[in-house]
């Protein structure tokens, strides 16, 4: 296994072990998406059509969002609290790779929310959970997870570079649920909000996930009128581009973090 992947895998494994050792922290990260989805499902109860699955998939997406925002935003802080940041910084591995492993594990843990929401939807609200194209669904889900993780990397580095990033992290959760159209079509939002939605990778990811679940959603997407499979390909391509930009920004930010840590020697106290 290449060294980079080995580092990412090790960090991923360590983060998983931390979660297993102290699973209570899953609760604050997923409680909001879980409750929001339950509220939406109750509102969807009286309607017909594919709305129920719309809420379920959106809820799962929000779970990934929530977990990534908080856990990745606090990833470097977490190392600081545990007293391991000095060792991580001194190791020959890049900090970016360590935090990448942690960010991927956070997004993956966010999926626990999707499972919980699926169970509630199937048992409590009797919603049919059929998936039209399981392969495209799985591919879209994995790529969206990576996109959310890449965004988590930006939050993780921004948190260290700016004190106000903490405010940003805490204040961004619900606005991101809102802007990314996790529970309703973006078209409902005011026009001036649309650009903010389109620069978020997960906005395209949830679109692809929905289309892979049911082609009925095509009329509510950016690609209305296009063949659903081609629309999914467009969604994934746009998300890939945006995720690459996230990764590039995160690389630059992490270089700044490492440089500042080594020149000022104040990273741990910051």
């Amino acid at each position: 296994m290449p060294q980079t992947l080995r580092v990412i895998y090790s960090a991923f494994r360590m983060a998983m072990l931390h979660w297993i050792a102290d699973p209570q922290w899953v609760i604050p990260n997923i409680i909001a998406p879980f409750v929001f989805t339950t509220v939406a499902l109750t509102l969807f109860k009286e309607t017909t059509g594919p709305f129920g699955l719309y809420a379920v998939l959106g809820g799962g997406m929000m779970g990934m969002w929530g977990n990534t925002l908080y856990s990745s935003g606090f990833a470097i802080e977490f190392e600081k609290w545990q007293g391991t940041l000095e060792e991580v910084m001194a190791a020959p591995s890049k900090l970016l790779h360590v935090i990448t492993g942690r960010a991927v594990s956070n997004a993956l843990f966010g999926l626990t929310n999707m499972v919980a929401v699926l169970v509630i939807a199937a048992l409590g609200f009797k919603i049919s959970l059929g998936i039209a194209d399981p392969l495209l669904f799985a591919v879209s889900l994995v790529l969206t997870l990576l996109s959310v993780s890449a965004l988590g990397l930006i939050f993780a580095s921004a948190f260290v570079l700016s004190r106000s990033a903490q405010t940003l992290t805490n204040g961004l959760e619900i606005p991101l649920y809102l802007i990314s159209g996790s529970m309703f079509p973006i078209a409902l939002l005011p026009f001036w909000v649309h650009p903010a939605a389109y620069v978020l990778g997960p906005t395209w990811g949830i679109d692809a996930i929905r289309l892979a679940t049911s082609q009925e959603y095509i009329s509510q997407t950016f690609w209305a009128g296009v063949d659903p499979k081609i629309a999914i390909a467009f969604d994934l391509a746009v998300m890939f581009l945006i995720t690459s930009v996230y990764a590039a920004i995160a690389t630059v930010l992490f270089k700044m973090v490492e440089k500042r840590a080594r020149t000022t020697g104040t990273l741990v106290e910051a």
């Binding site: 209570q24 609760i27 409680i31 339950t38 509220v39 969807f44 004190r163």
Partner: protein, 262 residues
């Protein structure tokens, strides 16, 4: 006089203490961004599913629910920070009378919560077209005040209960968001499954949300007095139970010498 001084200093200290985790910019974010985005999120869902007529119902419910950030989340967090910051032994070692000390912890959050609701009402009126022209100002003010006060009692109850647990913050998150399901904030309580519907009536917010909607429709204080009466009873019971938990915890801590280990 001494009891009032304890009450006042407890209120001021507990409010100031929250700024150890909540810096002013985050406070402003919570006041403006969170309240608006939560309201907008549910309004857009409601509009998507049920159309424009549901907007005022959801906007008003969420406007009132914003006070839970202050009266539930912040009040429970006092317990959490007493544990993490090592101030719990000092609080329990003081000879100060416990009742004003306990009650004071939540009281400025009542005022702060009312400010949050006022800001949210402005959003509801100007961004989501909620009509306040017929609102009965006296009934609305009394309802918001009473809801903030009784929800602070509920915050004290959960805060007192969470003395026994390692992470009160987790309780804060769970209770803050479950209010959205049980209290008729986004849909009527009657839409809940019959089995869990009675749970709604243990939360003071449920009565407050109903009374607020009626006050905005123009009903008088007398018209909504039955909701407010029930709300007050539930709130006072919460407060008393919270105080009981607080004293029981103190007793256990003194007896076992495990002040912060619980």
């Amino acid at each position: 006089m001494n009891r009032f001084r304890i009450f006042l200093s407890s209120a001021i200290f507990s409010y100031r203490a929250q700024f150890s985790w909540l810096n002013p910019s985050m406070w402003l974010t919570m006041k403006f961004v969170l309240s608006l985005s939560q309201m907008a999120f549910f309004v857009f869902i409601g509009r998507f599913i049920q159309g424009p007529p549901v907007i005022p119902f959801i906007a008003i419910g969420n406007a009132l629910q914003t006070l839970s950030w202050n009266t539930v989340f912040s009040v429970i967090n006092i317990t959490s920070h007493d544990k993490w910051d090592g101030t719990l032994p000092l609080v329990l070692a003081t000879p100060a009378s416990r009742l004003p000390l306990f009650m004071g912890r939540a009281m400025i959050h009542v005022l702060d919560g009312m400010l949050s609701v006022a800001i949210s009402f402005v959003f509801a009126a100007f961004l989501f077209g909620v009509d306040f022209r017929n609102a009965n100002a006296l009934a609305l003010t009394v309802t918001v005040l009473l809801t903030a006060f009784t929800m602070a009692g509920f915050g004290l109850l959960i805060g007192g209960l969470s003395f026994y647990f390692r992470e009160p913050l987790i309780f804060a998150n769970i209770f803050l968001f479950t209010l959205l399901i049980f209290c008729g904030v986004n849909f009527p309580v009657d839409d809940l499954p019959e089995l869990i519907r009675p749970v709604s009536y243990i939360f003071p917010l449920t009565y407050g949300v109903t009374a607020t909607r009626k006050a905005i429709e123009g009903q008088t204080l007398f018209d909504i007095s039955n909701f407010l009466g029930q709300q007050l009873v539930v709130g006072l019971i919460s407060m008393m139970l919270g105080y009981l938990f607080f004293r029981t915890f103190e007793h256990v801590a003194r007896k076992t010498g495990r002040l912060e280990a619980i």
